[in-house]
């Protein structure tokens, strides 16, 4: 007794499941997200360099939150020596005013659900001047 | 892996005799002993073993899979009675399998061939054969490890195949080879010739007449009987099995069953199963052949462990289809045994349980009141069949004091008697007592806690080996078959006073009839 049919069925099911990433993307382009940066008229430079902000903005924001809420410390001095008000709404979102076009670009790309908006209001995109 | 086994009296079994091997045409017959330096293996033994393994890897998915998928999690390690009783690490089921798995890797797998020991492989040498002989005849094929293995790896299956390979080069044991040869020629392991078999039964009939007061006249090799009854020959030969045999005789007489014994198919057990799949088939063929010749409707089988593994899981595949038989129907209750529809063979305990359920037996369980029995689930009927409730139902109806052992050691968790699969030889007593330790230990517990004084079972090997095991570990406990307890409780038509049990001992539970013959008995009672 070989049970060929059952074994082949099993293998097909196995392959179908395990090749999910191969067939689920079939025929679809996978554009790399392009978070929209604030216009040069608003700002030319972030509080830290781009590579750091790409990988570690969540660390920074987390630290800010703790410093502000727990230590009442509101001043952040950047590497370039410039002082910033530690505030998501008033500092970050001042420039990156469109959540959909900026934050969500990468977050959605990687299924990240930051808990910023558990407390903060989602900003309304400003009218472009 | 490197420690070699030491063959010492008590821990190995005598080699198969040349004459026995010749009778059935097994390879390399010679006179030798495991203690010899030179085992006189055939010149091309390595090639034979290699080819034998290759062939079996192609024939048995079980073997191939079990060689490949073990993750050595160790769940099986302390499940083996031989490991518990001996402490020998190679008795852990995982290492028993590694004995052959290492050769599989070393001889069949690229990684093992190149990396050797690092990949868990090793080369086939004579020492490996000696080690196999030692450890594969130190496994009783009880399947307890298989219950706990996450992949169901069954060491019994590995042992069966390893023994089959060992047989290819003539490495086998006398206690298996001789019964096989006997069974082939005379129809039973003990080599009882037809007239001797009949005589033995007649002695038992005399005993029944003496102790029960009923003369029973069974038939032998009778054509046209409705049922052929087959049971292990050990039960017609030695105590306490003979009392179980007497139990069958009485039960069938009690219900007036139209059945016959066969001197040709006079063996239920199958030591061929411990030799090779082929030998199992050769010996098993007698049952269907005889059923066909006698023209019976179906076959009823007696109490036996490995016999039922073979009957239940192998017989119909080996020697079926049994289309010359009819689906078993109990002639007394009309019950159709649906679970035996194809193999057409019913277990005596299933049959008896059905009789009791339908009130077909006249029983006086108080006859067993002095007995506090527990029940030993045989490995094969538990883990290779699932006969668990029937014997308990029967016991509860023929005794008033049945006590079960702890759940960890009964039913599918049951422990082997320590002597199964053809290891019940006298020269092997030390290992048998070690292997039987877990079972004896559990019996001791119920003996101490509940006063259990009888270990009942549905297996002929159990009946043959438990007396020694009990004598050593729990001397106050006796051994009996379930059918003996049934017979004790049977109220036979026209029976005399049951002052004696089937063993010819005075029955402490016997109560002399009081009312009618009160005056007549009064004097006797006074004397007592």
């Amino acid at each position: 007794m070989y049970d060929k049919g059952k074994i082949i069925t099993g293998l097909v099911i196995f392959l179908a499941i395990f090749t999910y990433p191969l067939w689920s993307n079939m025929g679809k382009a996978a554009p790399v997200p392009k978070p929209e940066l604030p216009p040069k008229s608003v700002a030319t430079q972030c509080i830290a360099d781009t590579q750091y902000m790409r990988t570690s903005h969540m660390t920074l924001l987390n630290t800010w939150r703790d410093d502000v809420v727990r230590m009442a410390d509101r001043v952040y001095v950047s590497a370039s020596g410039k002082s910033y008000n530690m505030s998501l709404t008033n500092t970050c979102l001042e420039c990156h005013s469109d959540k959909v076009k900026f934050c969500d670009q990468c977050h959605n790309y990687l299924a990240v659900a930051p808990f910023c908006w558990d407390c903060h209001l989602v900003p309304k995109p400003k009218e472009k001047k | 892996m490197d420690t070699k086994p030491e063959f010492k009296p008590g821990n190995f079994l005598y080699a198969g005799k040349a004459s026995a091997l010749e009778t059935v045409g097994l390879p390399n017959p010679r006179d030798w002993s495991p203690t010899d330096d030179d085992w006189q293996l055939p010149a091309d033994w390595k090639g034979i073993v290699h080819e034998g393994m290759a062939e079996r890897l192609q024939r048995f998915r079980s073997f191939k899979l079990f060689m490949d998928v073990c993750v050595r999690c160790g769940a099986c390690a302390d499940k083996c009675h031989f490991f518990i009783g001996s402490g020998d690490p190679k008795n852990m089921p995982v290492l028993r399998a590694e004995l052959i798995r290492s050769i599989y890797r070393g001889e069949f797998k690229t990684a093992g061939k190149i990396l050797g020991k690092l990949a868990g492989g090793r080369k086939l040498t004579e020492d490996v054969i000696k080690e196999w002989f030692y450890y594969f005849f130190q496994c009783t094929e009880c399947r307890r490890c298989s219950v706990f293995c996450p992949y169901g790896i069954d060491t019994a299956e590995i042992t069966i195949i390893a023994r089959e390979i060992l047989n290819l080069i003539g490495c086998n044991i006398d206690w298996i080879a001789s019964p096989v040869a006997n069974c082939f020629m005379t129809g039973n392991h003990l080599g009882l010739k037809p007239h001797t078999f009949k005589e033995n039964v007649e002695y038992l009939l005399d005993d029944i007449e003496e102790y029960v007061g009923v003369r029973i006249e069974p038939t032998f090799n009778r054509k046209g009987a409705e049922i052929l009854f087959v049971t292990p020959s050990g039960d017609v030969f030695a105590e306490p099995g003979i009392f179980t045999f007497m139990g069958y005789l009485m039960l069938f007489d009690h219900i007036g069953l139209d059945y016959t014994w066969s001197t040709y198919a006079s063996e239920g057990g199958n030591f061929g199963f411990f030799t090779s799949h082929e030998m199992m088939k050769r010996l098993n063929a007698k049952m269907y052949a005889e059923a066909k010749r006698l023209g019976v409707k179906w076959i009823l089988g007696g109490e036996c462990g490995h016999m039922w593994r073979v009957v239940h899981q192998y017989m119909n595949t080996l020697n079926g289809p049994a289309d010359f038989l009819e689906q078993p129907i109990s002639p007394l209750t009309g019950t159709r045994f649906e679970n035996a529809a194809a193999t057409k063979m019913v277990h005596i305990t299933e049959f008896t349980a059905d009789l009791i359920k339908n009130n077909k037996l006249k029983l006086d369980p108080s006859q067993n009141d002095h007995i506090i029995p527990t029940f030993h689930d045989s490995c094969n009927t538990s883990r290779g069949m699932g006969l668990l409730e029937e014997p308990r139902y029967v016991l509860n109806n023929v005794c008033n004091n049945f006590v079960d052992m702890a759940p960890q050691v009964i039913r599918e968790n049951t422990f082997c008697c320590g002597s199964g699969s053809g290891l019940n030889a006298g020269e092997y007593l030390e290992m048998r007592l070690r292997g039987g330790l877990p079972r004896a230990n559990a019996v001791k517990r119920v003996h101490e806690d509940h006063g259990v004084n009888m270990l009942s079972c549905v297996c002929a090997i159990d009946r043959a080996v438990f007396p020694a095991l009990m004598d050593y570990w729990v001397p106050e406990v006796g051994v009996c078959g379930v059918s003996e307890l049934v017979a004790n409780a049977l109220v036979m038509e026209g029976q005399g006073e049951r002052e004696y049990n089937l063993r010819g001992e005075e029955n402490p539970s016997y109560k002399p009839p009081a009312e009618d013959e009160a005056s007549a008995e009064a004097g006797e009672e006074g004397e007592e």
Partner: protein, 366 residues
């Protein structure tokens, strides 16, 4: 012990290879494209080959290990799962075995008390560690599909968010990312406990081979580098996904700016994939094929056929009667041929051909 050290060193060497290969020699295409494709191909082809190889050997006998009451008399309740009486029951037995490790759940431990007194107690640690390990591994693998699919299916997002419901602030320990993915930690915990178990329990240590240590160290390495890449080094996941999507859509790209830690993690995963089909890890597929688990216990009700069955030599009744006829007749046992008939036949056979026919003819005439 050799196996233990060899495996540990082997995994460290693998880490070194990736470190030097990407960090030192900059072989990003090799480690980011060629090796991954080769590994995945090996995994699928190897796994299918192994299963087909097993399947080529038949199951000649129906040998389920029964762990409960069989289906027999109508009034006796069968244990349908542990002694399956139908295909449906077998499916249930297998599903529970594969998903909940029922056999391991049975595990018990024995200990000797006062000499030969043995007691058995429940032992669930192996089961617990195994469940932790396997389920966490499954969740981790599924979660990683966020790197290989775009857009990410809702169910995947949900899993990701459920798994990451816990927020832990370990900034002072250099762990920047506040959202903890539980499965990764449970996996690391599981693999560590399984490793410790193998080291601590003497019997298990004794039976362990290099083939047991190596996957444990390899998976530990994968866990550690993964956790490191996520929480501490914080590799640029957008770029990682860009690369992953390139692989999944067969348009491989190797973006700059991905930390070497990612490559180490990725390389170890590739090694695991490639190693898988040739190792004990094949128990993934093997568990489904085990004849002691996946068969219905109905061999007395339905005939199972052995495809390689062959005729064997038996000692049939006539040979038997020839051996013992005299004693049988004497003992009053019925025989097929009387002594005279047998004798006549015997002489017929022994006498030369010509008179034989004559004799039989004569006999027929009679």
């Amino acid at each position: 012990m050799i196996g233990f050290l060899f495996s540990l060193v082997a995994v460290l060497v693998l880490v070194g290879i990736a470190l030097v290969g990407v960090g030192g020699l900059g072989l990003k295409v090799l480690f980011g494209v060629i090796i991954p494709y080769a590994a995945v191909l090996t995994f699928f082809a190897g796994l299918v080959y192994r299963v087909v190889d097993w399947a080529r050997s038949p199951v000649p006998f129906r040998i389920p290990t029964t762990c409960g009451q069989e289906k027999s008399l109508a009034w006796i309740k069968p244990n349908k799962i542990d002694n399956p009486c139908s295909t449906g029951a077998v499916v249930l037995r297998m599903v529970l075995e594969v998903l909940t490790f029922r056999s391991l759940f049975r595990n018990m431990k024995l200990d000797y008390r006062e000499g030969p007194k043995i007691r058995y107690s429940s032992e669930k640690f192996l089961w617990l560690f195994a469940i932790m390990f396997h389920w966490a591994f499954l969740v981790v693998i599924i979660r990683h599909m966020r790197f290989f699919t775009e857009p990410i299916a809702l169910w995947l997002q949900t899993l990701e968010h459920l798994d990451g419901f816990m927020e832990v602030n370990l900034a002072s320990f250099g762990v920047g990312l506040p959202t903890i993915q539980l499965s990764g930690l449970v996996l690391l915990g599981g693999v560590t406990l399984l490793l410790l178990r193998r080291i601590v329990i003497p019997t298990v240590r004794y039976i362990s081979l290099a083939a047991d240590w190596f996957p444990l160290f390899l998976i530990t390495g994968i866990c550690l580098t993964g956790i490191l890449a996520r929480y501490v080094v914080r590799v640029d996941v957008v770029k990682v996904k860009e690369m992953a999507m390139g692989l999944a859509t067969f348009h491989p790209v190797v973006p700059d700016g991905i930390s070497v830690w990612f490559y180490i993690h990725f390389f170890l995963v590739c090694v695991l994939f490639a190693y898988f089909p040739f190792s004990k890890l094949m128990h993934l597929a093997g568990v489904f094929l085990s004849p002691t688990r996946n068969l219905v216990n109905n061999s007395r009700a339905v005939r199972h056929v052995n495809p390689w069955s062959y005729p064997v030599k038996t000692h049939d009744y006539h040979e038997y009667e020839d051996d013992f006829r005299e004693q049988m007749v004497e003992a009053g046992l019925p025989v097929e041929k009387t002594l005279e008939e047998a004798e006549a036949e015997k002489t017929a056979k022994e006498t030369p051909a010509a008179p034989e026919t004559q004799e039989t003819e004569e006999k027929r005439e009679e």
